[in-house]
């Protein structure tokens, strides 16, 4: 599990990780309807300062994971408490995403198949990916990003004939609190969950281009998300906030010459690859977090037991789709706030006040030493 992750591999990993939350756009559609495209733009702009905070923390403590940073910043006891909260957060995110992946398949692709089958299969595949290491997952993310760009571009082009620009009107017809709520969901749930990538900083030997990788990744993901939202809104119009999965429903309308039809499976393949990357990364960081908290040298032995616990939690996650929708719209942004906004801000403030930083790893320091004339 100990390879080197290049910052160039971090960009596609970031893109695929953020797009792993593409399903939640349907939930945001239920709040802001045809104004969701503005929320995506606002969400991206508002996430930038926090991405800069994460990158700054990674550069201030090079080669240290989030848990090691907490120990340095907050001390051994408080640091461990904050780290335990983060590990619990990553574990819950893992279970939520496994459940979302299985729920998508049961809802749209194979409705007669029991949930548990998808939960177990997804988890086993991701467990194998974690066993191979994060660098292998990052290499796969290049292919998933290329697939995402291709599918979004193709499907948008094929639906141009079905688009009606009047579906974007009227603007700002909802109460302000709905825009604030939707923006917070978009900022925290897809974009700021990148905080989990702070756990993989020990794998990055040269982090000089870290900020650029993350900002580029977030920007590309935002553009793709915006394209998806605009496509769905322009095609579906008012139906977009009552349908289940808007991308699926929009792609169903593609019918070119009675030949090119029923290509909504492309969306299913896209979502599967996004979920695979996101779940694998969350699985990896949870395992890494647990191994650092328990001070284990290697945690490969815990991959399957942790996966089994995650499957059970994913299965019992929620009783009904209604409660899931209420959770996503009203509670999830508040749940994510401490780990994505509050703690990183606090870490930055405490590190700055106490003038804490760790020296760069040896390899980087040698590059910075200028040769004698």
């Amino acid at each position: 599990m100990n390879d080197e992750l290049k910052t160039s591999q971090l960009t596609p990993l970031t893109i695929s990780f953020i797009l792993g939350s593409a399903l939640l756009i349907t939930m945001v559609d239920g709040i802001t309807a045809h104004d969701t495209w503005m929320v995506v733009i606002a969400g991206f702009v508002l996430c930038l300062p926090f991405l800069l905070i994460y990158a700054h923390l990674a550069k201030r403590f090079p080669g240290k994971s989030l848990i090691e940073m907490n120990d340095v910043i907050f001390g051994k006891v408080v640091g461990k408490i904050v780290s335990a909260i983060y590990v619990a957060y990553f574990f819950l995110l893992l279970t939520f995403n496994i459940n979302d992946a299985a729920g998508f398949y049961v809802g749209y692709v194979m409705p007669d198949t029991p949930d548990m089958a998808f939960l177990i299969i997804f988890t086993l595949v991701c467990a194998f990916a974690v066993h191979r290491g994060l660098v292998a997952i990052a290499k796969v993310s290049l292919a998933t990003t290329a697939l995402a760009v291709t599918v979004v571009a193709l499907t948008t082009l094929m639906l141009i004939g079905n688009m009606d620009s009047s579906n974007l009107l009227p603007l700002f017809d909802k109460p302000l609190i709905r825009y604030v709520q939707a923006t917070q969901i978009v900022v925290e749930l897809p974009f700021l969950e990148i905080v989990s990538l702070l756990m993989v900083m020990p794998l990055i030997k040269d982090n000089r281009k870290l900020t650029r990788s993350w900002i580029t990744g977030a920007a590309v993901a935002a553009v793709l998300m915006l394209a998806i939202v605009l496509r769905n809104t322009l095609v579906l119009g008012g139906a977009s906030n009552i349908l289940g999965e808007n991308s699926f429903e929009a792609i169903r309308l593609i019918n070119i010459g009675e030949f090119l039809t029923r290509i909504e499976l492309l969306i299913a393949i896209n979502y599967t690859t996004f979920f695979f990357i996101k779940i694998s990364v969350l699985y990896y960081v949870t395992l890494n977090g647990i191994s650092q908290l328990l001070r284990l040298e290697r945690a490969n032995a815990l991959i399957l037991p942790l996966g089994s616990i995650a499957v059970v939690f994913a299965y019992i996650k929620v009783d009904s789709a209604v409660i899931h929708a209420i959770w996503g719209a009203q509670y999830a942004p508040v749940f994510s706030f401490p780990c994505t906004v509050f703690f990183p801000l606090l870490m930055l403030i405490v590190a700055a006040l106490r003038k804490l930083r760790t020296p760069p790893p040896d390899a980087l320091r040698q590059q910075e030493i200028k040769p004698e004339p």
């Binding site: 279970t95 040298e297 209420i326 509670y331």
Partner: protein, 72 residues
């Protein structure tokens, strides 16, 4: 279904425990057993149709108690 789950956990234990014992990785062996026991127990509870409270309901309950969530 229960037999399949027990078979899966037994297979994992049969592979991992001797490997970790040979490598003298005692800490990992202990935590492997702890996590496997938790996973097996949860699965058995699930199969016995015991109502395990979901994490979302628990967190929603806490946030309702504090009063920190968006209105419907």
């Amino acid at each position: 279904m229960a037999l399949l789950i027990i078979a899966f956990f037994s297979l994992c234990a049969l592979i991992e425990i001797p490997r970790l014992a040979r490598a003298k990785r005692t800490k990992e062996l202990v935590w492997f057993c702890v996590f496997s026991a938790i996973g097996l127990t949860l699965f058995m509870l699930l199969l016995a149709s015991v109502k395990i409270p979901g994490p979302i309901k628990v967190i929603m309950g806490w946030l309702d108690w504090i009063g920190l969530h968006y209105p419907a």
